[in-house]
Amino acid sequence: MLKQVEGSRAMAQAIGLCRPEVICAYPITPQTHIVEGLGEMVRTGEITHCEFINVESEFAALSVAIGASAAGARAYTATASQGLLFMAEAVYNASGLGLPIVMTLGNRAIGAPINIWNDHSDAMAVCDSGWMQLFAETNQEAADLHIQAFRLAEELSMPVMVCVDGFILTHAVERVDIPEQAEVDAYLPPYEPVQVLDPQDPVSIGAMVGPEAFTEVRYLQHYKQTLALRLIPEFAAEFKARFGRDSGGLLRSYRAEDAELIVVAMGSVNGTIKDTIDEMRADGVPIGLVTLVSFRPFPTAALREQLVRVRNVVVIEKSLAVGMGGPLANNVDLALRNIAGAPQVHSVIAGLGGRPITRAALHRVLRRALEEPWEGSHFLDLNDTIIAKELHYVRKVRRSGPTAENLLRRLGQAAKQSVV
């Protein structure tokens, strides 16, 4: 049913349709509205045969999900930012034990400096933990990806993180088609665990493993993600056949067929990029887009196929690996490794801590990629003036003070001067 609804509410309804049996969560902005919605649906009986468990921390939230999943229940939780970091040990346990938990990550920056706004730092912090990571472009896709995530997780007995841009999607009210229960039931069969804690048939889940088999356990985790490279497009195709929508898959391309420059990006910024591409196409610029849905597993072959024939690739990402550059750009480089005449990859770091990514800024940086391509990372809309002032100041003064406070003070002064 088509509804005009807040993204978080749409996701809660889609998750409810997946018939979760245990939901445990600890509130953290911007994910809170999702679990609030689910809590309400459990209370009113809209979701049946489900226990909503309030826990004392994110570490407990995922630990409860792990226990529930090991006991054979379909388990769900959600978090964001430092909440994810607080549960980091359990994140690795869920994937290491091969438990098919689905978790929503309302993508948010990580402090310090404390910041509640959107970027992809949290997802990147655990991208190599063994969880699959799917990124939503719209709230429709965010809702749909949860349904596909349970299917994928349970098929492989591996956890899936659905990454949804905090505020930009979670708090946006837009049209979402909420599927019918019968359709979701037909798409998502009841959970049949491959391992379960059953007193009638006891097993140990979580045995200690030494050097004799640790590599093999890890290898099989990695192997399962390579299987996901085949399953993700299959489940997306089946989803489309049943629900009539393109949602999920490994990646999608937009106006890329005859493009000489291709942009690669993940999440909600793809919408703004598409509008920018339409405007640049109207000016005759041969530019296209590849939207990456699956970051883990990383679709190396599918991405290579999209990018190999172009001259320039611009990777726009909301994350920074400090001291290295853009992690997504680095991964895209990997897809082009050892290819003779591979395209040049140009990295753009954008939207950190919620800074808006505007069409105007995208026009500037994409024009620059065509006219004067750069090496290394380009920081979109970086305020060079306050950076220069701060660098000058810290060279002169030993006790220069906290960086964040210094920059805020400089911004305040600049605002006062512009008024006068």
Binding site: I116, A172, V173, R175, G271, D275, G354, I357, T358, R359
Partner: protein
């Protein structure tokens, strides 16, 4: 695409206003997107929210920098922030106040817009009268429907009904209707 920016203070229902306008447009078959300015929400702090309306899918996710309409829920904000930034020359301006544009020193700004596109409505007063609390958002949407014709008052009322609980919705619908009438009176005058 028609883009509306709402300015107000935390606790005035600024985010709900954008949501209700999006629902009203959706009920008329349009595509709509409402979103808040994502600040830390505190009572009394300046808050901005946005609503885009179009006849096809809205993909754009940037804040609204060049609005077709501004709805200002709290005129004391003019001293704090530049609410008018980017307002299109063809745009609309709706201010919650029982004072005139002249008295608010907005005549110059209103003069840059087409005749009849700028208006003050005593939305807080109307809300006090009908709802019992000075929450101007629903009344302003009634006035917005009258001022722009972008959405019908009926759709605004239906959206109010979706967002608020039953009796509160009825009171807000009454406030919206009164504000809608006030716009019609101003146009006739």
């Amino acid at each position: 695409m028609f883009q509306v920016r709402f300015h107000g203070r935390g606790g005035q229902g600024v985010v709900t206003a954008a949501e209700m306008l999006a629902v009203a447009a959706f009920l008329e078959g349009a595509h709509a997107q409402a979103f808040p300015s994502f600040g830390s929400e505190r009572m009394g702090a300046p808050v901005v929210s946005f609503c885009r309306i179009d006849d096809h899918e809205i993909r754009l996710r940037e804040p609204i920098m060049e609005p077709d309409a501004l709805i200002v829920q709290d005129p004391t904000l003019f001293k704090v922030v530049d609410d008018f930034q980017g307002l299109k020359p063809s745009g609309y301006l709706l201010v919650n106040s029982n004072r005139s544009l002249d008295e608010l020193h907005l005549a110059a700004i209103a003069g840059q817009l087409p005749a009849g596109h700028a208006l003050t409505v005593p939305a807080s007063e109307l809300a006090l009268k009908h709802v019992g609390r000075p929450l101007p958002n629903a009344a302003l949407l009634g006035a917005f429907a009258g001022l722009t014709g972008l959405v019908d008052l009926k759709s605004v009322n239906a959206a109010i009904g979706e967002v608020f609980a039953k009796n509160i919705a009825a009171a807000n619908i009454a406030a919206a209707a009164a504000a809608h009438d006030a716009v019609a009176d101003a146009a006739a005058a």
